[in-house]
Subunit: 335 residues, 2 copies
């Protein structure tokens, strides 16, 4: 299988190990944005033994190379258009999240994906939700799906990041999409995929105060979701974790179910149920994110985070951002 | 000072130690509701050496005894009217929370309190927010007030209780006020008093599913607050903590500030700031809740949870319940 890459502003590193492992052809790359950091990306690729041809233009690259897989991760606001280009040419797409930064762009991307899938059912689309592959989240997922805590009624998700030194495009909400679509989206995806909740309405807040000079970036955000069957969820996402914090992130998920409560905190999983409180042994995931994607294209497997999961999480995040901007509760349509 | 008590459905036990310590006269009691559990209360009081006269009628008791202090804690929906009776007669009131179960009742109680206070400035009103006196919450309060985490921008509060065996009135939301005014109110009070946030709007959810047969009681609730200066807060409150959980409650508070993050969890306090992460040594509170109340009446001190704090937390909780019931965001007026 032939792989090409568009941009280098995101988590393309998720793909490199698998490309090498399977001896795939990393044929070409194009850096459509000055902030893609071409020099640094080239060094990273070289370290893996990849020396892709470099194109000036995405359209030309896709036309000339006719790849099977396109990795899309330039500056966020451009990703959906490149994903569409690739899908329209019959390529499978491995795309940074948020997979679109505007609701109309998302709707169009979903339409293009469905059309491409109709023409060629082997075409796949995968969002870069790599956090779900960490042992603590996979452990939580399996326990919940086995019915370990019964039916989830209430979920609380948390993302908290150090600010660190961010590329310039993070100072422009138009370009990175905003902190809810960029950061909160992970916890949104957990409450839907792991918790099984289906949000139908959202009320959200965001504030640029304390953003360490990062322009229009929100440093703190908070979203609450009314979900199907009267269930409910909150997602708190901030970029205010002090520089001296012991880790970059503080990911948490709390699921309150009819039979027990599960909590992910500090990369561990705790459960309280009819047997009392205990820590779950962590399961290791057998396949990586990009590997599952390749296996799905080959008809040998299925991405645990499906295309629909990625689209739905993005739609919810964009609805939350709309609520933040308008001061109104926003309805969320199903995918 | 002479003390009388109305009802015994709440936390009157907060008062008993101080009454004994100060040798105050626990003169009389009245049980206006069948669910006050008169027999059990009489046994508790006897254990402290108190043998108050028992009245059939509250009005008669207040008229005959002319107490300085009235402890009000019958079934919740009756508390505000008895608090008003006592305040109107020039008594100070120690009142169970929520101090009112309807917004118009709360407004009237605040009015009666202000009128009574105008006539006699020594009159005091104190809500039973005893959790604030626990070392971990007092430690958090002092650290935040000393500026330890700077300006709080985002707060996440959590209350989670075991259901246990509840008196019958908890199965009737009209009588106990609902789970937000009953349980979430504590975390609401933390985000306002400890976090310093001033909520101006609320969106909230509640669900009676999984309430173990407790009628109209919500087992899960979730509220999000837009606050002054673009700040934000969430309060998750449930009664779904499994019976085999190691403790009755799982109180948590997370405050994200301009200079650091403070978290109360598992009765400990953790801070991450410019110096890294550490656990704070717990401070012990010198005076108990009811003792501070007595000292305030005597002009020798001040309740850490003021009358205004109690009224405001109740107003916020009732606004949240209104949002839950109407499906709309509700504006919160200042006290």
């Amino acid at each position: 299988m032939k792989v090409v890459q568009i941009g280098a502003a995101g988590h393309y590193a998720y793909a490199l190990g698998t490309i090498k492992k399977y001896g795939m052809d990393f044929a070409a790359i194009c850096y459509p944005d000055a902030e893609d950091g071409a020099a640094r990306a080239a060094r990273n690729l070289e370290r893996f033994g990849f020396a892709p041809r470099v194109y000036e233009d995405v359209e030309t690259m896709l036309h000339e190379e006719k790849p099977d897989i396109v990795i899309v991760n330039t500056v966020m606001y451009k990703n959906s258009q490149y994903a569409e280009m690739a899908l329209s040419r019959g390529c499978s797409v491995f795309c940074e999240k948020p997979v679109a930064t505007e609701m109309d762009k998302l709707e169009h991307l979903v339409y293009i994906y469905k059309e491409a899938k109709k023409k060629d059912p082997s075409i796949c689309f995968c969002g870069m939700f790599g956090i779900d592959y960490l042992p603590h989240f996979e452990t939580a997922y399996r326990f919940v799906k086995e019915g370990g805590i019964g039916e989830v009624m209430l979920a609380n998700g948390q993302k908290s990041y150090r600010m660190g030194n961010r590329e310039k495009f993070y100072s422009d909400r138009e370009k990175y999409g905003g902190t809810i679509p960029w950061v909160a989206i992970h916890a949104i995806e957990w409450i839907t995929r792991i918790g099984g909740l289906r949000p139908v309405t959202v009320t959200a807040y965001g504030n640029t105060a304390c953003n360490a000079g990062n322009g229009t970036m929100e440093a703190s955000t908070l979203s609450v979701f009314g979900c199907e069957k009267g269930k409910m969820a909150s997602v708190s996402a901030d970029v205010m974790r002090p520089a001296k914090a012991p880790t970059h992130d503080d990911d948490r998920l709390r699921l309150v179910g009819s039979k027990g409560i599960l909590e992910v905190r500090f990369r561990k999983v705790f459960v309280i149920d009819g047997e009392g409180e205990r820590e779950l042994p962590l399961v290791e995931t057998e396949t990586e994110l990009f590997e599952e994607f390749v296996l799905e294209i080959q008809g040998k497997g299925k991405c645990r985070v499906s295309a629909e999961d990625a689209f739905f999480a993005t739609r919810i995040a964009l609805a939350a951002r709309e609520s933040q901007d308008t001061g109104k509760s926003i309805e969320i349509l199903p995918i």
